[in-house]
Amino acid sequence: MARLATPPASWTTRYPELGTGLVSYEDSISPEFYELEREAIFRRAWLNVGRVEQLPRKGSYFTKELAVARTSLLLTRDLDGQVRAFHNVCRHRGNKLVWDHTPRSETSGVCRQFMCKYHGWRYGLDGQLKFVLQEEEFFDFDKADFPLVSVHCEVWEGFIFVNLADEPSQSLREFLGPMVLGLEGYPFHLCGERFAFKAQILSNWKIFLDAFQEYYHASVLHSQQQVPSLRSFETGYKVPHFQIDGPHRLISTGGWKGTPRHLLPPEQMYPIEPATQAGLMGPWERPDIPELDPANLPAGLNPGNLQPWSISNFQIFPNFVILVYERGWYLTYQYWPTSAGTHDWEMSYYFPPARTASERIRHEVTAVVSKEAALQDAATLDGTQQGLESRVIDKYPLSDQEITVRHLHKAVGDWVQAYLRDGKGTRA
């Protein structure tokens, strides 16, 4: 049988370390591999746990459940305004310090001190133990010896990252590397209107990442989102720019079939889009905020220099994704493993706060239309997980424009190998 030649615009061969061979997804079905990932990746990489807008003032706090690392974190803004992270565990008897409805559900609020529900021990926003009930009954006891256990925490462009290693091997900026740092200067702080979603997904975390990091699937799985006259399964790259830097990936698009959606003729759109002047790619009109004008955006946002440019999809290792849209908004995904075959998924849309009802309505259109497409992506996942778990097939092909899928599994494998080689037992 004739073999197909290497595609003309080969991205994969620009990164020889990726190879072009068949790929195994054993890393997404093996409970043993999952246990390795927990140590090798989720206790060593920098993890995004939220944004500074979730800690708007001194005393603000929120908790973050990290089942993958078998811990709960407490994020606070202390009296000096500094963002801090602690393990959410009382030093006295190990009770979860901060919780509201149930110990396993996340919570947030504002306070001056945290009081344990068990025996009333109290901690300051800086983690120092401030009060012990009947302190004189304890033996050789000094409160200064029992602060909350702190976690390495750094803020970059308003995104709060933690690292669960005793001593991270890289600073956050070193870890993010030049490609992701190219986002610096984007006005994330002006996009404070947030829509947030959660879902429990019946697949390995990487399988859902894979679903959102290639657009090869779009003309099939999301075929209905094209009006019937435009539907086709033609060949051609859906994405004109890929880039890889260390464990991170970038995918940029210039718009559906090269034309930004808001510039299509009305008969090529669904009626709700022209009726509201908004759709899948955002409100048609970018808010007149100078910082959002493409001329003022950081060059690293569109490093392929696409014209027109519509989306850049930054895949930040291991489990955090930022998509920046040309129409002046962005969204994030986070994938939090709960077992080899399940994860909790979070999605947030961030817009500049609506100033009028029309603007708010356009945000609603985008949030609804975009979610509908994502539901289709999510629905295939338990089917994929089942297929992989059948182990009927052990190696799978990937096309050139699925380079991102190839890279994620390679990066995960590399981190696990490095851990087995250098770090086992030392938790670097």
Partner: protein
């Protein structure tokens, strides 16, 4: 429930003035296509007028009838893809997928 200018949409107000996305999504799944099409057919031609009308009020301080109208527009958005694209209340091929919108701007 609605401002006088939108009295024509009053027959849909009791059912579709819903403050949360989770509530609107549940109502959509709880509807027949005939019900979704009837609501869409009445509300879609009025969405431009509703947006222009609501822009005459302060978004953060909408009186009750105007807030109801805003929520009705959100519901129109919720039913538009079932009518325009899916031809069924559920997203085609969405399987068991369900996303909980646990945080949203108010209003």
């Amino acid at each position: 429930m609605l401002p006088e200018e939108f009295a024509d949409l009053e027959p849909f107000a009791a059912r579709w003035c819903i403050a949360t996305e989770a509530g609107r999504y549940a109502e959509r799944l709880n509807s027949t296509m005939a019900e979704l099409e009837a609501f869409y057919g009445a509300a879609h031609p009025r969405v431009g007028a509703a947006m222009a009308y609501l822009d005459g009020f302060e978004l953060s301080d909408l009186p009750e009838p105007q807030l109801n109208l805003l929520h009705l527009v959100y519901s129109l958005i919720m039913v538009s893809l079932p009518v325009e694209v899916w031809h069924q209340p559920r997203v085609i091929d969405s399987g068991t997928a369900y996303f909980d919108r646990y945080l949203e701007p108010v209003p």
